[in-house]
Symmetry: C3
Subunit: 162 residues, 3 copies
């Protein structure tokens, strides 16, 4: 028996998930990142040009939470890259539909900035996300997150996920 | 007899209008654009310098929904311009007052980015909007939208509305 | 006896404070700025590098509302600087905890743009805020506002507060 879920309550949970997620990205808290996802999840970061042509390729593509944990481990122990801060601004979060697997399809728009140690803040990416959110107990989590950035050329490299 | 309208409900409808509008701009869905307005509407896109001097001139000025439809038709069939994506980030949506014609005066702040096919995302405009929103049946629509951008010089040209 | 405060109502008051604050910054309404704070307040604008090292130094540091009023007076009558507009975009406002002195600890993420008279809009700062909000009668105000910007180098100078 499905619980009766109040719409305003769902919207509040969705908004809060996006806010906590943005806060975590801005804090650079890599260990927390996979915890925003359920175990059986899809995470994709891809350019708009590829997204519109249904091409799978993109800087990040993960099909389980384990792969997300791998990614964070690689970032912390294996990969070599210039240190940077990320600032992630999200707007226009919207529930666009009921997902078939008792969740919600949501969308958002974002701009993200990268700041290098000796430099200025520069726009890293801007674009849209196409997400699916489910309740894991009482906590909203992503079961799918597809981040589509407008800019074909990403300044420097994609290091951190968005 | 006016219906009793709950404040939280109105705020939710207003937020949702801004979110749907941003989503539509970011998707590049030109045909949908005029449908966010009632028939008898004012749309103005103008620089802050002109706005503060009460000068009417600006890149877009339309006094009916028909004029908005004309604009989209021109964009789709007549005008020649470089293809681009628009990313529109909106924040601080606020109901600032009750409009005399049973609607609400609202404001928002925005930043918008343009991405050209071969290039990077660049800030196109940032600024404020001074809007009026009415209920068309159960759907919130703009009866007035005045977009005031801070930057006197717009990179490239103003092609799409914001 | 403390009044029973509804959570959704508090969130709405907090969101509204951030929206009014952003609106005021974007309008350039300097006189209104100190009124967003209670008398006994802390305002700090500092870089992320200093914040993470617990270094107090930063472009603005004020420990009372009187100091904020001084700042606005200096900006209006004493300091010499190039005229500019500020556009302040705020996202992911979140109540992160209950403050010990019957208020709320909140956070937000922001990007801010500066536009000079003859120029383009440029990113001024992006970063995070760590705030404390209390109710002054029925109005939410800041009792603490700590603005932490990612970019070590601020283009031009910090003139207006954020």
């Amino acid at each position: 028996m499905a619980a009766v879920i109040d719409d305003a309550d769902v919207k509040q949970k969705v908004d809060d998930l996006y806010a906590r997620y943005a806060q975590s990205l801005c804090d650079g808290d890599l260990d927390a990142w996979p915890e925003f996802f359920v175990d059986d999840c899809l995470y994709k970061l891809t350019s708009r040009a590829n997204y519109e042509r249904n091409l799978a390729i993109g800087p990040i593509f993960s099909e389980t939470k384990g792969a997300l944990i791998d990614r964070t481990r690689a970032l912390k122990t294996a990969l070599v890259y210039a240190q940077r801060y990320v600032c992630y601004i999200v707007g226009s979060i919207r529930i666009v539909g009921r997902a078939p697997d008792k969740g919600w399809d949501t969308r958002s728009m974002f701009s993200a900035y990268q700041t290098f140690v000796d430099g200025d803040s520069k726009l890293m990416m801007c674009g849209r996300t196409f997400d699916r959110i489910v309740l894991d107990g009482n906590t909203a989590k992503f079961s799918r997150r597809v981040v589509v950035y407008d800019n074909e050329r990403v300044p420097s490299a994609v290091v951190y996920p968005l």
